[in-house]
Structure formats: structure tokens, C-alpha cells
Amino acid sequence: MSEAASRAYGSLRRILAEPLGMLGVVLVLLMIGGAVFADLLAAAEPNKISPRDRFLGPSLTHLLGTDQLGRDLFSRALHGGRIALSVALISTAASLAIGVVLGLIAGYGPRWLDNLMILLFDAIKSFPTVMLALALVTLFGPSLTAVMVVVVLVNVPGYGRIIRTQTLALKSAQFVTAAQSMGAGTVRVLRVHILPNVIGPLLILASMDIPVVVAIEAGLSFLGLGVRPPTPSWGAILNDGFTAIRDTPWIAIAGGLPIILITLGFTFLGETLRDVFDPRLKRQG
């Protein structure tokens, strides 16, 4: 086994040794597995309307029941996971990329640019998240792209600030000064000497942000401002269920349960990751 692989194995064992970490890993794997193998696990088509099966309660054929159009909720919940996870992955990756670039510019660039960036970050963060999301969705029209733009806008200030702070700290570190004096260009210094040192904590932070991203997508879809029907999304199922909450509560349960499970899973995992890789914080927690 290579050194990196054995290190990764060691970290994994430390995560699994914590009960909460174990639970987090199980939940996350369960939800990812459900999304990836949705077609195999659920026999029913997620969007197949069958008027005769409307509002059926949970049973062996329909594990979570059916909705107002007779669609199988179990199948819709699994397929909803695909939407949630792909939105989470794509928009988190985009936020990371943009946040890193802006943060490096702020931290490594001239002072005025730094101040400008910080003001920009603070201004973006001063919008209440949902209000910003509502404004943007109004402007762009409801779509998955709009949801992802919202996520990027919400996440970038936080990531940018962290990268900036760490870059500032590293900028005057000896090994960076040494590299500069040997004639290394700005891009090389940033890529070889600074980026590898700042990316670790950021990745842990990003993993802890995934529940927030899932919540934004589900929330907007719940308001009817995210994915367009009939695409299965947890938020959309929740909305269907909310409309009919007095008579057929299982629809709301089917929409809310996966959101609860996946946010808990990622949060437990993220907490354990932080405790394992950042022992300074563990002392307090």
C-alpha cells in the first residue's frame, strides 16, 4: 500500500471509530447509493402518472405511498437525491474554484484590491440568504441554474475570506519569501507554495456546507422556484405534501425525510472530519 493510501485508510478508521462519524458515513453512503442506483432500487418510474393510484398510503408496493398524481414517492425520493446531490456537487465545486481565485487575489494582491474584495464579500453576505435567492430567481426565472448561482453567491464570500486570511499569513512566511527570491513568479508561488497549504481546511468547510446547499435547492423547489415540474426534487415533493398535509401526511414525510437524513449525514461526517483533522477544535467540542 502506498503511503498516501495508508494515510487515507488511517483517517477513515479514525472517522469510523467515532459513533457519530460512523453514523454520518452510513447515512451519506445510503443516500448516495440510493441516488446512484435509483433505477435499480425503485421499480416504478418517478414521473409515471397513474390516476387510479392517487393518494395511496405507504405499502409494500409503494414504500412511501403515492402522491396526488399517483406517482410512486419512494422512486421520486430516490431520484430527487440525484438532483440534490448533483446540484450540491456542481455548485460547491464552482464556489470553491471562484472563492479560491478571489481569495488568492485578495490575499496576494495589492492592499486596495484586498479592501475592495472584503467590502464586496461583506456586502454579498449582508443579504439574507433566502431574500437574495428570491431576488435572483425572480430575475433569472426559476431553474436549476438560478439555484446554483444562488449557492455560489452564498458560499463564495466565506471561502474567499478563509483563503485570503491564510494567504496573508503565508505571504510573509520564510519559504514563500525564499521562493520569491529564487525568482519564482506570482502564479508559481501561489500554485506551488500557497494553494496546497490553504486548501485542506477549506475542503472540510465545504463538506460541512453541503447540507446548506441541499437546503437551498430543496427550499427553492419547495417554493416552486427551483426545478421545474415534473422533475423529482425533495423540495417539490414536500410542496405537494404540504398542499395535502391534512389528509395525506405521508407525502410531506416522504419529501422531508431524505432532506433530514442527508443533512444529518453530511453534518455528522463534517463534524467528525473536523475533529479528526483539526485537533485544536476537538478540545472544545
Partner: protein, 314 residues
């Protein structure tokens, strides 16, 4: 203290200005013609042109922004499309209901979070500490609108303990409070977790401080040491964070208002989106943003006042 307050105020003004610029940019980048969007498909070209001139859309960008900027600072956010009433007035009418909801959420989070955090810090490592720890993480993680819907389902629909919708009879304070319980719980429960964790962490740090050892060595009673000598310091970071908390509760309030069919800014914006009443949307976003910045400003100043170290240094 005066210098600090002025500096902090200046920063707040700068942030509000940049936020306005961002908002204006977003409006400007709207694909399509705002006048056409606002008037709908049946409007004639003449009507659209008239509205464009009325909205100042025929002028250069920078003049448009300047007008928007100056008007906004003067409290003029334009008129809404449906009834042609001033946006600022419409938003302000709905604001008290939202603020009441947030205040309710704040009461939940402070009333539960601070004792929980304090208690688990004193009993650290025990079973209760572990359970509260997991509970805190869980309520932070689960989105507030899911909490709202499940709370509605459990306490209002199934158990019928509490009313499901509305804000209660106007003028009947008791009824209004009863209607506030579930929505404010949904808004505040995540912050119960945040505050419990924050207070616990800073309590643990403060309890290690040497002045706490001194207080014990002087024979002060444990209760006084914990609540008077330690908690008053441990609570300071929480006050700073409450400003951020109110911003997040503002977001949760949007969902709570929609789920529980309560009046408020969130419901207003949601309805405005559905009716394409764009000036109302941007106006409400701007008002809530300014409110959020203002609250953070106040939180910082309050911390400055509570902590004599900060009070004199700044």
C-alpha cells in the same frame, strides 16, 4: 467608544452602498425589458414606452444607478406595480409581523440555548453533554422549512395542540402569542443548537481562566462563580453572533410565514414573485438587507458596551 461607533457606522454605510450597487446590477442584468415584464403581454408599445420613461429606463446606466441610489437612501424605493403604492410603505407595513416572528425565534434560541450551553459546560463529558451535543448538531443541520412542516404536521394537524395557520385575531395578544409558538420555534430551533454550542465552548474556556480560580479561592459560592463571574464573559461572543443569527432567522421567517400562512415580509415577497411585482421584490430585499446590517451594527455596539475592555480601548 465614540470613534469606534462612528467607524463602525461608516463601515455599515459602505456595505449598504455596495449592497445597493449589487442589487441594481442584478436588476439591470434582467434578461428582457422590465417594462414589458411588468405590464404583461397585452400591453401596447406606447404603454411600455411610457412606463420605461416613468421608470427612468431611457437614461444612461450611471444616471439610473445614481437616481436609484439617492432615492433609496431617502427611503424612496419606487412604487409597486399592482396598486402603485410606495414600495417602502408596503414593506414597512409587513415588517412588524416578521420582526415579531424573529423576536419569538430569538426568545426560543436564547432561553433554551444559553442554559443548555452553560449546563453542558459545567457537566462536560457526561451523558447529558453528549446528548445535547448531538441534538445541537442535528437542529443546526436540518433546514428550518422541514422543521416548520413537520412541526405543523405533528403539533397542529395530528395532535391539534396549536393552531396551524394565521397570526391570530388582531388585537387579541394571547391568541397572537399562541399562533406565534410553532412558527417561532421553527425559526429559532437551529439557533438553540448554535448558541448552546457557542456558550458551551466559551464557558469551558472562561472556566479555565485564572480569575475564576481566584474567585473560587476567595470562597465565592459555585453558583456565583458560574453565573456571575464566568457566564457574563462567556456570553459576549454570543451577542456578536446574535446579529448574524437574526439574518439567518430572517431567511427562515420567509418559509415559516409561507408554511403557517402568516403575514410578513417573506409572504409579501413570495406573493410579489408570483405576481411579477418586481419593484416590490427588490424593495423588500433591500429593506431586509439594511435591517440585517443595522442589527449587526447594533450587536457590535452592544458588545462594546457590555465589555469594559472593549469600551475603553476603542
Amino acid at each position: 467608544m465614540l470613534y469606534y461607533s462612528l467607524k463602525r457606522l461608516g463601515l455599515a454605510v459602505a456595505i449598504v452602498s455596495v449592497a445597493m450597487l449589487l442589487l441594481f446590477t442584478m436588476i439591470y442584468l434582467i434578461p428582457g425589458d422590465p417594462a414589458a415584464v411588468a405590464l404583461g403581454p397585452r400591453a401596447t408599445e406606447a404603454m411600455r414606452e411610457a412606463l420605461r420613461i416613468k421608470m427612468g429606463l431611457d437614461q444612461p446606466v450611471w444616471i439610473q444607478f445614481w437616481n436609484f441610489f439617492v432615492n433609496a437612501w431617502q427611503g424612496d424605493l419606487g412604487n409597486e406595480v399592482l396598486s402603485d403604492r410606495p414600495v417602502a410603505k408596503v414593506v414597512m407595513e409587513q415588517l412588524p409581523a416578521t420582526l415579531a416572528l424573529i423576536a419569538g425565534g430569538m426568545v426560543w434560541s436564547v432561553a433554551l440555548g444559553i442554559p443548555l450551553g452553560c449546563w453542558t459546560a459545567v457537566k462536560r463529558g457526561g451523558m447529558a453533554d453528549r446528548i445535547v451535543g448531538v441534538f445541537s448538531v442535528a437542529v443546526i443541520a436540518v433546514p428550518s422549512f422541514v422543521v416548520a412542516i413537520y412541526a405543523l404536521l405533528i403539533f397542529a394537524v395530528t395532535l391539534r395542540w396549536l393552531p396551524a395557520i394565521g397570526a391570530g385575531e388582531p388585537g387579541d395578544l394571547g391568541d397572537q402569542l399562541v399562533h406565534l409558538i410553532l412558527p417561532s420555534l421553527a425559526v429559532g430551533i437551529g439557533w438553540v443548537g448554535y448558541i448552546a454550542r457557542l456558550v458551551r465552548a466559551s464557558m469551558l474556556e472562561v472556566l479555565e481562566a485564572s480569575h475564576i480560580r481566584t474567585a473560587r479561592a476567595f470562597g465565592l459560592p459555585d453558583r456565583q462563580v458560574t453565573y456571575r463571574y464566568a457566564l457574563t464573559i462567556a456570553i459576549l461572543p454570543t451577542v456578536t453572533l446574535l446579529g448574524v443569527g437574526i439574518g439567518q432567522m430572517l431567511s427562515s421567517a420567509v418559509f415559516a410565514e409561507i408554511v403557517f400562512a402568516r403575514p410578513g415580509v417573506g409572504k409579501l415577497v413570495y406573493d410579489a414573485i408570483l405576481t411579477r411585482n418586481y419593484p416590490l421584490v427588490t424593495g423588500a430585499v433591500l429593506v431586509t438587507t439594511v435591517l440585517f446590517i443595522l442589527i449587526n451594527l447594533i450587536a457590535d455596539l452592544v458588545v462594546g458596551y457590555l465589555d469594559p475592555r472593549v469600551r475603553s480601548r476603542l
